[in-house]
Protein backbone atom coordinates (compact mmCIF):
# COMPACT_ATOMS: atom_id res chain seq x y z
CA UNK A 1 0.00 0.00 0.00
CA UNK A 2 2.77 2.35 0.86
CA UNK A 3 4.45 1.40 -2.40
CA UNK A 4 1.22 2.25 -4.17
CA UNK A 5 1.03 5.59 -2.45
CA UNK A 6 4.61 6.30 -3.37
CA UNK A 7 3.94 5.57 -7.02
CA UNK A 8 0.90 7.87 -6.99
CA UNK A 9 3.05 10.52 -5.43
CA UNK A 10 5.74 10.00 -8.05
CA UNK A 11 3.15 10.19 -10.79
CA UNK A 12 1.84 13.41 -9.35
CA UNK A 13 5.35 14.75 -9.22
CA UNK A 14 6.17 13.93 -12.84
CA UNK A 15 2.87 15.36 -14.04
CA UNK A 16 3.54 18.47 -11.98
CA UNK A 17 6.98 18.92 -13.47
CA UNK A 18 5.60 18.22 -16.93
CA UNK A 19 3.02 20.92 -16.25
CA UNK A 20 5.77 23.27 -15.19
CA UNK A 21 7.67 22.52 -18.36
CA UNK A 22 4.61 23.23 -20.51
CA UNK A 23 4.05 26.41 -18.58
CA UNK A 24 7.64 27.52 -19.09
CA UNK A 25 7.42 26.82 -22.80
CA UNK A 26 4.20 28.84 -22.97
CA UNK A 27 5.79 31.77 -21.13
CA UNK A 28 9.02 31.62 -23.10
CA UNK A 29 7.12 31.74 -26.38
CA UNK A 30 5.45 34.91 -25.15
CA UNK A 31 8.78 36.30 -23.99
CA UNK A 32 10.09 35.70 -27.48
CA UNK A 33 7.11 37.53 -29.01
CA UNK A 34 7.71 40.51 -26.73
CA UNK A 35 11.49 40.64 -26.96
CA UNK A 36 12.24 39.58 -30.52
CA UNK A 37 10.92 42.74 -32.22
CA UNK A 38 13.24 44.77 -30.00
CA UNK A 39 16.27 42.56 -30.66
CA UNK A 40 15.48 42.61 -34.35
CA UNK A 41 15.43 46.37 -34.17
CA UNK A 42 18.89 46.47 -32.58
CA UNK A 43 20.26 44.11 -35.25
CA UNK A 44 18.66 46.12 -38.04
CA UNK A 45 20.26 49.28 -36.66
CA UNK A 46 23.67 47.72 -37.25
CA UNK A 47 23.00 46.41 -40.74
CA UNK A 48 23.63 47.97 -44.10
CA UNK A 49 20.60 48.93 -46.17
CA UNK A 50 21.19 45.96 -48.40
CA UNK A 51 21.11 43.57 -45.47
CA UNK A 52 17.98 45.16 -43.98
CA UNK A 53 16.08 44.68 -47.19
CA UNK A 54 17.25 41.19 -47.98
CA UNK A 55 17.30 39.01 -44.91
CA UNK A 56 15.12 39.92 -41.92
CA UNK A 57 16.19 36.95 -39.80
CA UNK A 58 19.93 37.14 -40.46
CA UNK A 59 22.47 38.64 -38.08
CA UNK A 60 24.36 41.72 -39.24
CA UNK A 61 27.59 40.73 -40.98
CA UNK A 62 29.47 43.69 -39.57
CA UNK A 63 28.65 46.52 -37.18
CA UNK A 64 27.68 49.59 -39.14
CA UNK A 65 28.07 52.23 -36.47
CA UNK A 66 27.75 55.01 -39.00
CA UNK A 67 23.99 54.36 -38.96
CA UNK A 68 24.15 55.90 -35.51
CA UNK A 69 26.34 58.73 -36.68
CA UNK A 70 23.84 59.54 -39.42
CA UNK A 71 20.94 59.33 -36.95
CA UNK A 72 22.58 62.18 -35.06
CA UNK A 73 23.93 64.22 -37.96
CA UNK A 74 21.44 63.88 -40.83
CA UNK A 75 18.35 62.87 -38.88
CA UNK A 76 19.04 65.24 -35.96
CA UNK A 77 17.81 62.82 -33.32
CA UNK A 78 19.92 64.66 -30.76
CA UNK A 79 18.07 67.95 -31.34
CA UNK A 80 14.70 66.27 -31.00
CA UNK A 81 15.87 64.66 -27.82
CA UNK A 82 16.89 68.00 -26.30
CA UNK A 83 13.44 69.35 -27.11
CA UNK A 84 11.84 66.33 -25.50
CA UNK A 85 13.90 66.72 -22.33
CA UNK A 86 13.00 70.40 -22.18
CA UNK A 87 9.29 69.70 -22.63
CA UNK A 88 9.30 66.88 -20.06
CA UNK A 89 11.03 69.07 -17.46
CA UNK A 90 8.74 72.05 -18.01
CA UNK A 91 5.61 69.88 -18.03
CA UNK A 92 6.67 68.24 -14.81
CA UNK A 93 7.32 71.61 -13.18
CA UNK A 94 3.97 73.05 -14.20
CA UNK A 95 2.16 69.86 -13.21
CA UNK A 96 3.69 69.72 -9.73
CA UNK A 97 3.15 73.45 -9.09
CA UNK A 98 -0.51 73.11 -9.99
CA UNK A 99 -1.34 69.64 -8.68
CA UNK A 100 0.35 69.55 -5.26
CA UNK A 101 -1.30 72.68 -3.78
CA UNK A 102 -4.66 71.76 -5.36
CA UNK A 103 -4.56 68.25 -3.91
CA UNK A 104 -3.50 69.60 -0.53
CA UNK A 105 -6.40 71.99 -0.30
CA UNK A 106 -8.93 69.51 -1.69
CA UNK A 107 -7.69 66.70 0.50
CA UNK A 108 -7.18 68.44 3.82
CA UNK A 109 -9.02 71.72 4.15
CA UNK A 110 -12.73 72.23 4.59
CA UNK A 111 -14.34 75.01 2.59
CA UNK A 112 -17.42 75.63 0.54
CA UNK A 113 -17.27 74.18 -2.98
CA UNK A 114 -14.69 71.57 -2.10
CA UNK A 115 -16.66 68.54 -3.20
CA UNK A 116 -17.85 70.38 -6.29
CA UNK A 117 -14.26 71.10 -7.31
CA UNK A 118 -13.20 67.53 -6.60
CA UNK A 119 -15.93 66.18 -8.86
CA UNK A 120 -15.13 68.82 -11.43
CA UNK A 121 -11.56 67.54 -11.72
CA UNK A 122 -12.81 63.95 -11.79
CA UNK A 123 -14.99 64.75 -14.80
CA UNK A 124 -11.81 65.87 -16.53
CA UNK A 125 -10.59 62.27 -16.47
CA UNK A 126 -13.08 61.53 -19.24
CA UNK A 127 -11.92 64.19 -21.65
CA UNK A 128 -9.06 62.83 -23.68
CA UNK A 129 -6.69 64.75 -25.91
CA UNK A 130 -7.98 64.09 -29.39
CA UNK A 131 -11.66 64.98 -28.75
CA UNK A 132 -10.84 68.56 -27.99
CA UNK A 133 -7.82 69.01 -30.22
CA UNK A 134 -9.63 71.12 -32.81
CA UNK A 135 -10.89 73.88 -30.47
CA UNK A 136 -7.62 73.68 -28.56
CA UNK A 137 -5.67 74.31 -31.75
CA UNK A 138 -7.93 77.20 -32.79
CA UNK A 139 -7.81 78.82 -29.37
CA UNK A 140 -4.03 78.53 -29.13
CA UNK A 141 -3.74 79.94 -32.62
CA UNK A 142 -5.84 82.97 -31.59
CA UNK A 143 -3.71 83.47 -28.49
CA UNK A 144 -0.42 82.94 -30.39
CA UNK A 145 0.46 79.98 -28.22
CA UNK A 146 1.28 77.65 -31.11
CA UNK A 147 4.82 76.55 -31.88
CA UNK A 148 5.84 77.20 -28.32
CA UNK A 149 7.40 74.51 -26.16
CA UNK A 150 6.24 76.11 -22.92
CA UNK A 151 2.58 76.17 -23.90
CA UNK A 152 2.83 72.62 -25.18
CA UNK A 153 4.14 71.69 -21.73
CA UNK A 154 1.28 73.56 -20.09
CA UNK A 155 -1.19 71.55 -22.18
CA UNK A 156 0.58 68.32 -21.18
CA UNK A 157 0.46 69.28 -17.51
CA UNK A 158 -3.24 70.06 -17.77
CA UNK A 159 -3.87 66.71 -19.43
CA UNK A 160 -2.33 64.93 -16.43
CA UNK A 161 -3.90 67.25 -13.87
CA UNK A 162 -7.17 65.37 -13.17
CA UNK A 163 -5.44 62.05 -12.54
CA UNK A 164 -2.67 63.70 -10.51
CA UNK A 165 -5.13 65.55 -8.30
CA UNK A 166 -7.05 62.31 -7.81
CA UNK A 167 -3.90 60.37 -6.89
CA UNK A 168 -2.41 63.02 -4.60
CA UNK A 169 -5.65 63.88 -2.83
CA UNK A 170 -5.78 60.29 -1.63
CA UNK A 171 -2.23 60.61 -0.32
CA UNK A 172 -2.89 63.92 1.39
CA UNK A 173 -5.90 62.50 3.19
CA UNK A 174 -3.80 59.72 4.69
CA UNK A 175 -1.32 62.08 6.42
CA UNK A 176 -2.25 62.52 10.12
CA UNK A 177 -3.50 65.98 11.04
CA UNK A 178 -1.20 66.33 14.07
CA UNK A 179 1.78 67.18 11.90
CA UNK A 180 0.44 70.32 10.40
CA UNK A 181 -1.16 71.40 13.69
CA UNK A 182 2.27 71.19 15.29
CA UNK A 183 3.80 73.13 12.42
CA UNK A 184 1.13 75.81 12.69
CA UNK A 185 1.74 76.16 16.42
CA UNK A 186 5.45 76.48 15.67
CA UNK A 187 4.51 79.49 13.65
CA UNK A 188 5.04 78.35 10.08
CA UNK A 189 2.36 79.90 7.94
CA UNK A 190 0.13 77.98 5.56
CA UNK A 191 2.68 77.99 2.77
CA UNK A 192 5.50 77.03 5.12
CA UNK A 193 3.46 74.09 6.39
CA UNK A 194 2.64 72.96 2.89
CA UNK A 195 6.21 73.00 1.63
CA UNK A 196 8.11 72.02 4.76
CA UNK A 197 5.76 69.46 6.28
CA UNK A 198 3.26 68.17 3.77
CA UNK A 199 5.37 67.91 0.63
CA UNK A 200 8.05 65.74 2.28
CA UNK A 201 5.36 63.50 3.78
CA UNK A 202 3.55 63.10 0.47
CA UNK A 203 6.80 62.20 -1.27
CA UNK A 204 5.86 58.61 -2.20
CA UNK A 205 2.76 59.91 -3.96
CA UNK A 206 4.68 62.65 -5.71
CA UNK A 207 7.33 60.20 -6.91
CA UNK A 208 4.67 57.85 -8.28
CA UNK A 209 3.19 60.79 -10.10
CA UNK A 210 6.54 61.80 -11.58
CA UNK A 211 7.24 58.27 -12.79
CA UNK A 212 3.90 57.93 -14.56
CA UNK A 213 3.98 61.41 -16.00
CA UNK A 214 7.51 60.94 -17.32
CA UNK A 215 6.38 58.23 -19.72
CA UNK A 216 3.24 60.16 -20.70
CA UNK A 217 5.16 63.35 -21.48
CA UNK A 218 8.13 61.63 -23.14
CA UNK A 219 5.91 59.57 -25.45
CA UNK A 220 3.11 62.00 -26.35
CA UNK A 221 2.45 62.29 -30.06
CA UNK A 222 -0.88 63.82 -31.14
CA UNK A 223 -0.64 67.15 -29.34
CA UNK A 224 3.02 67.62 -30.18
CA UNK A 225 2.28 66.95 -33.83
CA UNK A 226 -0.55 69.49 -33.91
CA UNK A 227 0.71 72.29 -31.70
CA UNK A 228 4.33 72.45 -32.94
CA UNK A 229 5.16 73.04 -36.59
CA UNK A 230 8.68 74.43 -36.46
CA UNK A 231 11.07 71.54 -37.10
CA UNK A 232 13.60 72.94 -34.63
CA UNK A 233 11.08 72.64 -31.77
CA UNK A 234 9.76 69.15 -32.44
CA UNK A 235 9.98 66.38 -29.87
CA UNK A 236 11.31 62.86 -30.33
CA UNK A 237 8.06 61.05 -31.27
CA UNK A 238 7.36 63.58 -34.01
CA UNK A 239 10.96 63.48 -35.15
CA UNK A 240 10.81 59.70 -35.48
CA UNK A 241 7.51 59.74 -37.34
CA UNK A 242 8.94 62.31 -39.77
CA UNK A 243 12.10 60.29 -40.13
CA UNK A 244 10.08 57.24 -41.07
CA UNK A 245 8.26 59.17 -43.78
CA UNK A 246 11.51 60.59 -45.14
CA UNK A 247 13.26 57.22 -45.12
CA UNK A 248 10.47 55.66 -47.16
CA UNK A 249 11.81 57.75 -50.03
CA UNK A 250 15.44 58.07 -49.04
CA UNK A 251 15.60 54.37 -48.01
CA UNK A 252 18.17 54.90 -45.33
CA UNK A 253 16.65 52.26 -43.08
CA UNK A 254 19.75 51.80 -40.97
CA UNK A 255 19.63 55.30 -39.52
CA UNK A 256 15.89 55.02 -38.81
CA UNK A 257 16.47 51.87 -36.77
CA UNK A 258 19.44 53.50 -35.09
CA UNK A 259 17.13 56.39 -34.21
CA UNK A 260 14.65 53.97 -32.67
CA UNK A 261 17.38 52.39 -30.57
CA UNK A 262 18.60 55.79 -29.40
CA UNK A 263 15.07 56.55 -28.22
CA UNK A 264 14.70 53.16 -26.58
CA UNK A 265 17.84 53.47 -24.48
CA UNK A 266 16.65 56.19 -22.05
CA UNK A 267 13.30 54.41 -21.73
CA UNK A 268 15.02 51.17 -20.84
CA UNK A 269 17.30 52.93 -18.35
CA UNK A 270 14.45 54.72 -16.61
CA UNK A 271 12.47 51.49 -16.58
CA UNK A 272 15.35 49.54 -15.08
CA UNK A 273 15.81 52.15 -12.37
CA UNK A 274 12.17 52.72 -11.55
CA UNK A 275 10.57 49.38 -12.32
CA UNK A 276 9.65 48.73 -8.70
CA UNK A 277 8.21 52.22 -8.24
CA UNK A 278 6.20 51.84 -11.40
CA UNK A 279 4.56 48.56 -10.52
CA UNK A 280 4.09 49.65 -6.91
CA UNK A 281 2.54 52.86 -8.11
CA UNK A 282 -0.03 50.93 -10.07
CA UNK A 283 -1.16 49.35 -6.84
CA UNK A 284 -1.07 52.62 -4.90
CA UNK A 285 -2.91 54.70 -7.38
CA UNK A 286 -5.34 51.93 -8.15
CA UNK A 287 -5.43 52.09 -11.89
CA UNK A 288 -4.60 54.40 -14.71
CA UNK A 289 -5.27 54.24 -18.43
Amino acid sequence: MSANQASIKAKKKTSASLGKLALRVFLLVQTFIVVYPLIWNVFASLKTNQEVMESPWALPTSFNWDNYVRAFTTAKIGDYMINSVLVVVMSMGVLLLAAVPTAYVLGRMKFRGRSFLTNFYMAGLFIGGVYIIVPLFIMMNDLSMLDNRFWLSAVYATGSLPFSVFLLTGFMKSIPHDYEEAAMIDGSGYFGTLFKVIVPMARPGIITLIVFSFFDFWNEYVLAMTLITDDAKKTIPIGLANLMQIQTFATDWGSLFAGLVIVLVPTILVYALLQKKLTQGMMLGGVKG
Binding site: I33, V34, P56, V130, L161, Y190, Y221, L240
Partner: protein, 296 residues
Protein backbone atom coordinates in the same frame (compact mmCIF):
# COMPACT_ATOMS: atom_id res chain seq x y z
CA UNK B 1 -7.49 88.95 14.81
CA UNK B 2 -9.93 86.17 14.06
CA UNK B 3 -10.95 87.92 10.89
CA UNK B 4 -7.40 88.17 9.63
CA UNK B 5 -6.83 84.48 10.33
CA UNK B 6 -9.89 83.74 8.27
CA UNK B 7 -8.86 85.96 5.37
CA UNK B 8 -5.37 84.52 5.45
CA UNK B 9 -6.83 81.05 5.23
CA UNK B 10 -9.09 82.08 2.39
CA UNK B 11 -6.19 83.69 0.59
CA UNK B 12 -4.13 80.51 0.97
CA UNK B 13 -6.91 78.30 -0.39
CA UNK B 14 -7.38 80.59 -3.38
CA UNK B 15 -3.64 80.76 -4.06
CA UNK B 16 -3.44 76.97 -4.06
CA UNK B 17 -6.41 76.44 -6.33
CA UNK B 18 -6.02 79.20 -8.87
CA UNK B 19 -3.02 77.95 -10.92
CA UNK B 20 -4.66 74.56 -11.43
CA UNK B 21 -8.02 76.08 -12.24
CA UNK B 22 -6.60 78.49 -14.80
CA UNK B 23 -4.90 75.64 -16.65
CA UNK B 24 -7.94 73.42 -16.36
CA UNK B 25 -10.33 76.07 -17.69
CA UNK B 26 -8.08 77.21 -20.49
CA UNK B 27 -6.95 73.85 -21.87
CA UNK B 28 -9.78 71.52 -20.90
CA UNK B 29 -13.07 73.16 -19.94
CA UNK B 30 -13.17 75.84 -22.61
CA UNK B 31 -12.29 73.50 -25.52
CA UNK B 32 -14.87 71.01 -24.24
CA UNK B 33 -17.60 73.66 -24.21
CA UNK B 34 -16.43 74.66 -27.67
CA UNK B 35 -16.81 71.23 -29.23
CA UNK B 36 -20.41 71.02 -28.02
CA UNK B 37 -21.19 74.54 -29.17
CA UNK B 38 -19.35 74.62 -32.50
CA UNK B 39 -20.56 71.15 -33.50
CA UNK B 40 -23.77 72.98 -34.44
CA UNK B 41 -21.99 75.22 -36.92
CA UNK B 42 -20.75 75.06 -40.46
CA UNK B 43 -17.19 76.24 -40.06
CA UNK B 44 -14.60 75.71 -42.76
CA UNK B 45 -11.37 77.46 -41.91
CA UNK B 46 -9.67 79.59 -39.28
CA UNK B 47 -10.58 82.86 -41.01
CA UNK B 48 -14.13 81.73 -41.75
CA UNK B 49 -17.18 82.95 -39.86
CA UNK B 50 -19.05 80.00 -38.34
CA UNK B 51 -22.65 79.65 -39.56
CA UNK B 52 -25.29 78.05 -37.37
CA UNK B 53 -26.79 74.95 -39.00
CA UNK B 54 -28.35 73.13 -36.04
CA UNK B 55 -27.90 69.38 -36.05
CA UNK B 56 -27.01 69.19 -39.75
CA UNK B 57 -23.45 68.02 -39.01
CA UNK B 58 -24.81 65.06 -37.09
CA UNK B 59 -27.25 64.21 -39.88
CA UNK B 60 -24.43 64.39 -42.43
CA UNK B 61 -22.33 62.08 -40.34
CA UNK B 62 -24.72 59.21 -40.87
CA UNK B 63 -24.77 59.73 -44.60
CA UNK B 64 -21.00 59.84 -44.76
CA UNK B 65 -19.80 56.41 -45.91
CA UNK B 66 -16.21 56.98 -44.83
CA UNK B 67 -17.33 57.96 -41.36
CA UNK B 68 -19.53 54.89 -41.11
CA UNK B 69 -16.67 52.68 -42.25
CA UNK B 70 -14.37 54.34 -39.71
CA UNK B 71 -17.01 53.77 -37.05
CA UNK B 72 -17.23 50.08 -37.95
CA UNK B 73 -13.45 49.69 -37.87
CA UNK B 74 -13.25 51.43 -34.50
CA UNK B 75 -16.05 49.22 -33.19
CA UNK B 76 -14.15 46.14 -34.33
CA UNK B 77 -10.98 47.24 -32.53
CA UNK B 78 -12.88 48.31 -29.41
CA UNK B 79 -14.43 44.87 -29.18
CA UNK B 80 -11.56 42.58 -30.20
CA UNK B 81 -8.65 44.35 -28.54
CA UNK B 82 -10.00 44.72 -24.97
CA UNK B 83 -11.39 41.18 -24.92
CA UNK B 84 -8.16 39.54 -26.07
CA UNK B 85 -5.85 41.88 -24.15
CA UNK B 86 -7.61 41.38 -20.86
CA UNK B 87 -7.98 37.64 -21.37
CA UNK B 88 -4.28 37.19 -22.07
CA UNK B 89 -3.43 39.47 -19.15
CA UNK B 90 -5.67 37.53 -16.81
CA UNK B 91 -4.35 34.13 -17.85
CA UNK B 92 -0.72 35.23 -17.56
CA UNK B 93 -1.32 36.95 -14.24
CA UNK B 94 -2.92 33.91 -12.69
CA UNK B 95 -0.31 31.55 -14.12
CA UNK B 96 2.51 33.67 -12.75
CA UNK B 97 1.02 34.18 -9.32
CA UNK B 98 -0.31 30.66 -8.78
CA UNK B 99 2.56 28.51 -9.95
CA UNK B 100 5.37 30.13 -7.95
CA UNK B 101 8.00 29.94 -10.67
CA UNK B 102 11.42 31.16 -9.58
CA UNK B 103 11.70 33.46 -12.60
CA UNK B 104 8.27 35.05 -12.08
CA UNK B 105 9.81 38.53 -11.67
CA UNK B 106 11.64 38.17 -14.96
CA UNK B 107 8.43 37.49 -16.90
CA UNK B 108 6.70 40.37 -15.17
CA UNK B 109 9.47 42.78 -16.10
CA UNK B 110 9.57 41.61 -19.70
CA UNK B 111 5.82 41.50 -20.32
CA UNK B 112 5.31 44.93 -18.82
CA UNK B 113 7.98 46.56 -20.96
CA UNK B 114 6.01 47.22 -24.20
CA UNK B 115 3.47 49.31 -22.31
CA UNK B 116 6.02 52.00 -21.50
CA UNK B 117 7.28 52.29 -25.07
CA UNK B 118 6.25 55.29 -27.06
CA UNK B 119 3.26 54.47 -29.29
CA UNK B 120 5.26 55.93 -32.13
CA UNK B 121 8.12 53.50 -31.54
CA UNK B 122 5.64 50.61 -31.34
CA UNK B 123 3.95 51.71 -34.55
CA UNK B 124 7.19 52.10 -36.50
CA UNK B 125 8.52 48.79 -35.24
CA UNK B 126 5.39 46.90 -36.22
CA UNK B 127 5.20 48.56 -39.64
CA UNK B 128 8.50 46.88 -40.37
CA UNK B 129 7.54 43.60 -38.76
CA UNK B 130 4.62 43.38 -41.19
CA UNK B 131 6.60 44.77 -44.11
CA UNK B 132 6.11 42.50 -47.15
CA UNK B 133 9.81 42.15 -47.93
CA UNK B 134 11.79 43.55 -44.98
CA UNK B 135 9.55 42.23 -42.23
CA UNK B 136 10.30 39.07 -40.34
CA UNK B 137 6.73 37.76 -40.33
CA UNK B 138 6.78 36.86 -44.01
CA UNK B 139 10.43 35.81 -43.88
CA UNK B 140 9.61 33.59 -40.91
CA UNK B 141 6.70 31.97 -42.74
CA UNK B 142 8.99 31.21 -45.64
CA UNK B 143 11.56 29.70 -43.31
CA UNK B 144 9.08 27.20 -41.92
CA UNK B 145 7.76 26.39 -45.37
CA UNK B 146 4.57 28.41 -45.26
CA UNK B 147 5.75 30.88 -47.88
CA UNK B 148 2.33 30.76 -49.55
CA UNK B 149 0.84 32.46 -46.52
CA UNK B 150 3.16 35.43 -46.82
CA UNK B 151 1.25 38.56 -47.69
CA UNK B 152 1.16 42.29 -47.31
CA UNK B 153 -0.51 42.27 -43.91
CA UNK B 154 -1.15 45.98 -43.73
CA UNK B 155 -1.93 46.35 -47.41
CA UNK B 156 -4.79 43.88 -47.55
CA UNK B 157 -8.34 44.79 -46.56
CA UNK B 158 -8.93 41.42 -44.97
CA UNK B 159 -5.96 41.41 -42.63
CA UNK B 160 -5.23 45.04 -41.86
CA UNK B 161 -7.51 45.39 -38.83
CA UNK B 162 -6.34 42.13 -37.31
CA UNK B 163 -2.74 43.16 -37.86
CA UNK B 164 -3.41 46.44 -36.03
CA UNK B 165 -5.26 44.58 -33.28
CA UNK B 166 -2.22 42.34 -32.68
CA UNK B 167 -0.04 45.43 -32.32
CA UNK B 168 -2.44 46.98 -29.81
CA UNK B 169 -2.60 43.76 -27.79
CA UNK B 170 1.19 43.38 -27.83
CA UNK B 171 1.47 46.89 -26.46
CA UNK B 172 -1.05 46.63 -23.62
CA UNK B 173 -1.35 43.03 -22.35
CA UNK B 174 1.58 43.29 -19.93
CA UNK B 175 0.25 46.46 -18.36
CA UNK B 176 -3.04 44.87 -17.39
CA UNK B 177 -1.22 41.70 -16.34
CA UNK B 178 0.75 43.62 -13.71
CA UNK B 179 -2.45 45.21 -12.50
CA UNK B 180 -4.13 41.81 -12.15
CA UNK B 181 -1.06 40.33 -10.47
CA UNK B 182 -1.30 43.02 -7.81
CA UNK B 183 -4.96 42.14 -7.39
CA UNK B 184 -4.36 38.40 -7.14
CA UNK B 185 -1.58 38.91 -4.59
CA UNK B 186 -4.10 40.57 -2.33
CA UNK B 187 -6.49 37.59 -2.46
CA UNK B 188 -6.09 35.51 0.68
CA UNK B 189 -4.07 32.35 -0.08
CA UNK B 190 -6.35 30.46 2.30
CA UNK B 191 -9.08 30.56 -0.32
CA UNK B 192 -6.92 28.69 -2.81
CA UNK B 193 -5.63 26.30 -0.18
CA UNK B 194 -9.09 25.43 1.08
CA UNK B 195 -10.48 24.85 -2.39
CA UNK B 196 -7.37 22.84 -3.27
CA UNK B 197 -8.09 20.53 -0.32
CA UNK B 198 -11.65 20.20 -1.58
CA UNK B 199 -10.20 18.91 -4.84
CA UNK B 200 -10.71 21.98 -7.03
CA UNK B 201 -8.45 22.07 -10.09
CA UNK B 202 -6.49 25.15 -11.11
CA UNK B 203 -8.98 25.88 -13.87
CA UNK B 204 -11.89 25.72 -11.42
CA UNK B 205 -9.99 27.98 -9.05
CA UNK B 206 -9.45 30.43 -11.88
CA UNK B 207 -13.17 30.69 -12.59
CA UNK B 208 -14.50 30.41 -9.05
CA UNK B 209 -11.93 32.33 -7.04
CA UNK B 210 -9.65 34.49 -9.19
CA UNK B 211 -12.23 36.01 -11.52
CA UNK B 212 -14.88 36.78 -8.86
CA UNK B 213 -12.29 38.21 -6.45
CA UNK B 214 -10.79 40.40 -9.16
CA UNK B 215 -14.15 41.46 -10.55
CA UNK B 216 -13.95 45.08 -9.41
CA UNK B 217 -10.51 45.48 -10.98
CA UNK B 218 -11.65 43.74 -14.16
CA UNK B 219 -14.57 46.16 -14.47
CA UNK B 220 -12.29 49.15 -14.29
CA UNK B 221 -9.78 47.67 -16.73
CA UNK B 222 -12.53 47.04 -19.29
CA UNK B 223 -13.30 50.76 -19.34
CA UNK B 224 -9.63 51.74 -19.37
CA UNK B 225 -8.91 49.34 -22.18
CA UNK B 226 -11.79 50.61 -24.34
CA UNK B 227 -10.64 54.18 -23.83
CA UNK B 228 -7.06 53.14 -24.48
CA UNK B 229 -7.98 51.69 -27.87
CA UNK B 230 -9.65 54.98 -28.74
CA UNK B 231 -6.49 57.01 -28.13
CA UNK B 232 -3.79 54.56 -29.18
CA UNK B 233 -5.54 53.57 -32.39
CA UNK B 234 -5.02 57.14 -33.60
CA UNK B 235 -1.23 56.92 -33.38
CA UNK B 236 -1.01 53.34 -34.58
CA UNK B 237 -3.24 53.94 -37.61
CA UNK B 238 -1.79 57.27 -38.64
CA UNK B 239 1.75 55.89 -38.63
CA UNK B 240 1.23 52.32 -39.79
CA UNK B 241 -1.44 52.63 -42.48
CA UNK B 242 -2.66 56.24 -42.72
CA UNK B 243 -6.14 54.70 -42.87
CA UNK B 244 -5.35 52.53 -45.89
CA UNK B 245 -5.76 50.41 -47.87
CA UNK B 246 -8.67 52.34 -49.32
CA UNK B 247 -9.85 53.55 -45.88
CA UNK B 248 -10.22 50.03 -44.53
CA UNK B 249 -8.26 50.86 -41.39
CA UNK B 250 -9.59 54.39 -40.93
CA UNK B 251 -10.73 54.91 -37.33
CA UNK B 252 -12.96 57.72 -36.06
CA UNK B 253 -10.08 59.57 -34.43
CA UNK B 254 -7.98 59.67 -37.61
CA UNK B 255 -11.06 60.67 -39.58
CA UNK B 256 -11.82 63.49 -37.15
CA UNK B 257 -8.24 64.67 -37.43
CA UNK B 258 -8.13 64.64 -41.21
CA UNK B 259 -11.50 66.41 -41.45
CA UNK B 260 -10.16 69.17 -39.24
CA UNK B 261 -6.58 69.59 -40.34
CA UNK B 262 -6.64 68.41 -43.96
CA UNK B 263 -10.10 69.54 -45.06
CA UNK B 264 -10.54 72.41 -42.56
CA UNK B 265 -14.03 71.13 -41.78
CA UNK B 266 -13.85 72.36 -38.18
CA UNK B 267 -17.56 72.24 -37.41
CA UNK B 268 -17.95 68.75 -38.79
CA UNK B 269 -14.83 67.52 -36.99
CA UNK B 270 -16.15 68.86 -33.69
CA UNK B 271 -19.48 67.14 -34.27
CA UNK B 272 -17.56 63.88 -34.71
CA UNK B 273 -15.73 64.70 -31.47
CA UNK B 274 -19.02 65.20 -29.64
CA UNK B 275 -20.35 61.95 -31.03
CA UNK B 276 -17.26 59.97 -29.97
CA UNK B 277 -17.32 61.59 -26.55
CA UNK B 278 -20.95 60.62 -25.98
CA UNK B 279 -20.36 57.11 -27.29
CA UNK B 280 -17.36 56.49 -25.03
CA UNK B 281 -19.12 57.82 -21.94
CA UNK B 282 -22.16 55.66 -22.73
CA UNK B 283 -19.95 52.64 -23.34
CA UNK B 284 -18.34 53.19 -19.95
CA UNK B 285 -21.74 53.43 -18.30
CA UNK B 286 -23.13 50.40 -20.16
CA UNK B 287 -20.14 48.22 -19.35
CA UNK B 288 -20.37 49.36 -15.75
CA UNK B 289 -24.03 48.36 -15.65
CA UNK B 290 -23.51 45.04 -17.43
CA UNK B 291 -20.69 43.98 -15.16
CA UNK B 292 -22.41 44.87 -11.90
CA UNK B 293 -22.16 42.12 -9.31
CA UNK B 294 -25.87 41.35 -9.37
CA UNK B 295 -25.93 40.32 -13.02
CA UNK B 296 -22.89 38.12 -12.69
Amino acid sequence: MKMTMKTRRGFFIAACLIPGLILFFLFKVYPTIQIFHKSLYLWTGVGDKPKFIGLQNFVDMFHDDTFLLALRNTGFLMLVVPVLTLLIALINASLLTQTKLKEKGFYRTVFFFPSILSFVVVAILWSFIYHPTMGFVNAGLEMIGLGDWAMSWLGDQRTVLWALAVTLIWQAAGYYMVMYMAGIDSISPDLYEASGLDGATRVQQFFHITIPMLWEIIRVTIIFSINGVMTISFVIVSIMTAGGPDRHSEVVMTYLYSQAFTNSNFGYAMAIGVFIFIVSVSLALISNKLTERGSN
